[in-house]
């Protein structure tokens, strides 16, 4: 399972990278960041890029920044960066909760947050985070930068709004208000496997009632998204088992799950119900 031949490029700046992409993107050029998804695909020769543009040498892309308003995750920030206490607040806590579900430790030392977002696998945990928090994908091409909201970015299974000459340079997530509770639950056959379904929830308590609820489901549909039908059952209500069960039921009803040889739509739907409830009950 050796990859097919490719030309290798290692730019040292973002300008250089997008210039290369402008020329090589249309010629079957791909970005190499963590490689934990791309290289296996190349090993199976399912992907045969004629050009690989390795962005690991671009120092400015490795930055992880937090301001009071948002978290900015550079293209080369590894999954492992979220395992520590590096990020403050409720957003940091959420990312820490989520990251331990991603693959395994040696994958997390190389794989990148933005790579996962650009790859848009339905089972990607980060895609669920981006969808849940209404993140923004910062995209750069030679001609300039554009910012794409999560809801516009994801279009289908491993299909995004990214053009062939564009590079994801960062993803921005809002800093969640202090006191926001977050919960995450996923199910896979073995820990670290691709999730069959996952649920991510967040809410604030305002006078004992839930405000700004977010319920997002991933793994069950072509791409992760927020489920307003579930969120509205939480808004203004006090947290409690019955409320959570109702929201979980609404989430299960709202999804149109994928089917594959191992997982029926009915099973995924049942998982969405279970995981949404567990994410809500376990939110801290």
């Amino acid at each position: 399972m050796k990859p097919a031949r490719f030309s290798y490029h290692a730019p040292t700046s973002v300008e250089e990278a997008v210039a290369l992409l402008a020329e090589l993107g249309p010629q079957d050029g791909r970005i190499l960041a963590g490689g934990q998804s791309l290289v296996p695909a190349m090993a199976f020769r399912l992907a045969r890029p004629a050009h690989l543009i390795d962005i690991n040498g671009i120092a400015e892309l490795a930055t992880l920044q937090a301001t009071s308003a948002l978290v900015s995750i550079g293209a080369c920030v590894r999954h492992a960066a979220f395992e520590s206490d590096a990020l403050p607040g409720a957003a940091g806590a959420l990312l820490r909760k989520v990251v331990e579900n991603i693959a395994h430790y040696p994958i997390r030392t190389r794989g990148t947050f933005c790579g996962s977002v650009a790859n848009a696998d339905p089972a990607s945990e980060w895609c669920c985070v981006v969808a849940a928090l209404d993140g923004v994908v910062v995209v750069r091409r030679r001609q300039g930068t554009r910012r794409v909201a999560a809801a516009q970015f994801y279009q289908g299974v491993m299909t995004t709004a990214l053009q062939e000459d564009e590079l994801v340079v960062a993803v921005e997530l809002p800093m969640l208000p202090q006191g926001t509770r977050t919960g995450f639950a996923e199910f896979s056959r073995r820990k670290g496997d691709f999730a069959i379904a996952m649920a991510l929830v967040a809410y604030r308590l305002e006078n004992q009632a839930m405000a700004e609820p977010r319920v997002a489901v991933g793994g069950a549909e072509p791409y992760a998204r927020r489920l307003p039908q579930a969120e509205e059952l939480l808004r203004g209500r006090a947290p409690g088992a019955e409320v959570f069960a109702a929201a979980a039921e609404a989430a299960a009803a709202a999804v149109d799950p994928m089917e594959d040889i191992n997982n029926t739509a009915a099973y995924r739907r049942a998982l969405v119900r279970t995981l949404t409830r567990r994410a809500l009950e376990g939110a801290t």
Binding site: M1, S7, V39, P40, L52, H104, Y105, P106, I107
Partner: protein
């Protein structure tokens, strides 16, 4: 730039200058061009972990990197664990606790465990199993691998 290019890899403190195509994986180059065959290839798609090495101290699946990407980085493989004739506590522990049968997955587990414990010497049991679940073994059922790594952790701390 698909043509072979000359790169220097620093493996266990020794430099190896080789000429390789960019598509050659780090695992293949370590084994075939640098002659360090202790790192094994079990799947070539990043699942089994037999190819695990330490790259600047971090456990990494060498089948998921191209050799050209490892220029200028410090690579440690199983051959570099011992100091002369003195085995690493992890190697001794594996032998003492019957943590290997066919031995094919062993180098990957050794590097994974050494890397993790050098970073987190006080790894708890649950975290240990979490980390060890990253690699596959088909012979031992893992019981003795976990035992050996626990024993080695204590040993490594004592010798530190």
């Amino acid at each position: 730039m698909s043509e072979p290019c000359e790169i220097t890899l620093r493996i266990n403190g020794t430099e190896h200058t080789v000429t390789v195509e960019p598509r050659r994986t780090l695992a293949d180059v370590i084994r075939d061009d640098c002659g360090q065959t202790g790192t094994h290839i079990g799947c070539e798609h990043g699942v089994c972990g037999a190819c695990t090495i330490l790259l600047d101290g971090e456990p990494v699946r060498s089948c998921l990197m191209f050799a050209v990407q490892a220029r200028g980085r410090a690579i440690r493989t199983v051959e570099g664990l011992q100091r002369g004739d003195q085995l690493h506590p992890m190697q001794e522990a594996f032998m003492r606790h019957h943590a290997l049968q066919c031995g094919f997955c062993t180098p990957g587990f050794l590097m994974l465990a050494v890397g993790a414990l050098e970073k987190w010497p006080d790894l708890g049991d649950e975290q240990l199993i979490d980390i060890l679940s990253a690699n596959l073994c088909r012979c031992t059922g893992y019981e003795n691998i976990v035992k050996a790594v626990r024993a080695a952790a204590a040993d490594m701390k004592a010798r530190a």
